[in-house]
Amino acid sequence: MDIQFTEEQELLRSSIQRLLRDQYDFEARRKIVADEQGFSRRQWAAFAELGLLAAPFAEDAGGLGGGPLSTMIIAHEFGRHLVVEPFVETVVLVGGLIERLGDAAQKQGFIPDILDGKKIWTLAWTEKGGRFDLADVTTTARREGDDYVLSGGKTAVIAAPWADYLVVSARTSGNRRDRGGVSLFVVDRRAAGVDLQSFKTIDGRRAAEINLRNVRGQLLGKEGEGVVALEACRDRAIGALCAEAVGAIGELNSATLEYSKTRKQFGTTIGSFQVLQHRMVDMFIAHQEALSLMQHLNLSISGGEAGLSRLASGAKTKIGYAAKFVADQAVQLHGGMGMTDELNVGHYFKRISSINIQFGDPAFHVLRYARLGAAA
């Protein structure tokens, strides 16, 4: 199994590669990250211009109909360039939710502005003490006329400081950790009662703790079915995050290989030492396996196959551990240079560390994989 990309997909890939090579090299990224805002509106507009923000959406929603494979292609290239802009958050997470759950008015109201790069969105599902459990929701929503009123808190929400809108999970019935009774809501990030405390993330992005006090929100999808929707959303997110991780792994491996062929110690290149050769062979194998699983997962997402969610947890585990191994070794083999802020290697290490936390770390997902297997 190896995905043969269509002409269209190849075109998408080469056009992203060209854009990122011209506008998003490591120095350009450094400037973006150091900027007060922490991301680039100009880049975001360029992504929209190229159709990247429309690529995965269905054609009847105004998208290009590329589906999960286009997401995979984009995320893989974004991973190679350590792109900080909120593609996964806006397009994959929220875009996917609105496309599947939104009513006609919501789709018409929100999707065009996403495609055009006019509005940025993020998903706020994590709560203090909830770790990676989608159903661990204490934020409440009570009905008031046509709207709902939300109160509670969300934690470590990536891209929230950049966002115009949030999709927030809140409990409309049931108790904490009940799978039923969770619903999703669209909230204007600048609405009264929304309070953000922002911070920088380990991989140079921005996130926030969010406090909601009697905030008006509009229901997205059916009341009480939020967890099921979030589970499918997580599967798609994992498809994209794994592609980013594989992109990062590939870059780390080429950088390390290149370094080992040029760096000389003890009168020879360090790549001539067998212990390091074997290490790099293991890094190569890790990349190959991760790449294969990434394709397998994204094809399954495309086909909406049964057992998809278990596979997503499996891929998050395997690719997470592979990425961690490669990142550790890439820093180690670069020696002191791998520790510096100046070289990109450490930044891939940090990006991988961040990916491994988002939507659950490998230790969480391996258990989920085991349990879903036992239940099947």
Binding site: F199, I202, G336, D341, L367
Partner: protein, 393 residues
């Protein structure tokens, strides 16, 4: 695990313990002492130990050491690291000091040793160069004799806390034609000399610990040469031996494991399967610590009987650093989504950090500890040492 102590040594241990409890400065108890303290703050404990006569446990009594037995030195090391005190600057007390009293002349001993003990001089280490990391013998920084001075030109790197340093001890090449190891000299250079420039290197945790040090036509008086010209490699190896002795870090690992346990209890409900997963991981790393500690105690007991520990230091370095890296990984994992946050440097209490305080330094410690398997002779080099010196391969 404890050494079997004589009543006198047990009394000594109690004395050390209560001295730390009563005298360790409160203002040094910051979230991350390695990055958050000013130079003056980090010297507070140094000065207290100096006043007490405990600043240099390794040093012979005639130079200002306390004259402790190997067992007492070990007790002191154990108690201070268990209590989480910031160790006195290693480059001064543990590294250059012993080189000076072992290989230096009387004038050098008289000039430098008291100032090292008092903390008046802050030393940094001019060993690594951009082309000389693991292979230190290829240093290219040149020192050319010109009358009563050496003229030094070169570029040192990874120089820890050079931004605070008054002096740097350098490996320099004095004979370009000799074999790599035999053309090196050990030179003491005043950081205030014209031609010395320090440039910060920021690491992936955002901190500024290490630096580039550029030496451009720096004039160094010949009296600052340690021992003989071209014999520097011998002194350097002697010093590296000292650098690697205390890297088992049992006290520090034990403290971090205790903190990790508290974090896990606070973060993860006991009915969550991840709780058991963490307990298992913690138990495994505790066993690693136990085995390393037992090995360390066995070596200390052998040393007390006069047996040369050989390359045991390499074993301690490999396992000690691997263990500590593992603990920082688990701690970073334990705080869940808050592991996404990284404190901005320079650290300030005014900047917002999410989540409970116990997790605020988890990300930076996790990132920073990647250096442990690289510096002080990478773990690959340490394995080579054991392969060669112990296994005879």
């Amino acid at each position: 695990m404890e050494l079997a102590l004589s009543p006198e040594d047990a009394a000594f241990r109690d004395e050390v313990r209560s001295f730390i409890a009563e005298n360790y400065p409160a203002e040094m108890r910051v979230p991350n002492p390695e990055t958050d303290l000013t130079k003056e703050q980090s010297l507070l404990w140094h000065r207290i130990l100096h006043k007490k006569g405990w600043i240099a446990p390794l040093w012979p009594k005639e130079y200002g050491g306390p004259g402790w037995s190997i067992t007492r030195r070990f007790i002191f090391e154990q108690e201070t690291s268990r209590a989480g005190t910031l160790p006195p600057l290693a480059f001064s007390v543990t590294m250059v000091g012993p080189v000076i009293y072992t290989f230096g002349n009387e004038a050098q001993k008289k000039k430098f040793l008291p100032r090292i003990l008092s903390g008046e001089d802050w030393w940094c280490q001019g060993y690594s160069e951009p082309g000389s990391g693991s292979d230190l013998a290829t240093v290219r920084t040149k020192a050319v004799r010109e009358g009563d001075h050496y003229i030094v030109n070169g570029h040192k790197t990874w120089t820890t806390l050079a931004q605070h340093a008054d002096w740097i001890f350098c490996l320099v090449r004095t004979d370009p034609n000799a074999k790599p190891q035999s053309g090196i000299s050990f030179l003491l250079i005043d950081m205030k000399s014209p031609g010395v420039t320090v440039r910060p290197i920021i690491t992936i945790d955002g901190s500024h610990e290490v630096n580039d040090v550029f030496l451009e036509n720096v004039r160094v008086p010949v009296e600052n040469l340690i021992g003989e010209e071209n014999k520097g490699w011998t002194y350097a190896k002697f010093l590296l031996g000292n650098e690697r002795t205390s890297m088992a870090g049992i006290g520090r690992s034990t403290r971090y494991i205790n903190k990790l346990k508290q974090i896990v209890e606070a973060e993860i409900p006991s009915d969550d399967p991840m709780h058991l997963d963490f307990q298992r991981e913690i138990a495994l790393v505790e066993l690693d610590v136990l085995a390393l500690e037992a090995t360390e105690l066995r070596v200390v007991a052998q040393m007390a009987r006069g047996i040369d520990p050989g390359p045991a230091a390499s074993l301690f370095k490999i396992r000690g650093t691997e263990i500590f890296q593992r603990i920082t990984e688990l701690t970073h994992r334990a705080i869940g989504n808050h592991g996404l946050a990284l404190r901005e440097q320079p650290a300030s209490a005014n900047r917002f950090m999410p989540g409970p305080e116990y997790g605020h330094t988890a990300s930076e410690k996790y990132l920073n500890s990647r250096k442990l398997s690289i510096y002080g002779g990478s773990n690959e080099i340490q394995r080579n040492i054991i392969a060669k010196a112990v296994l005879g391969l």
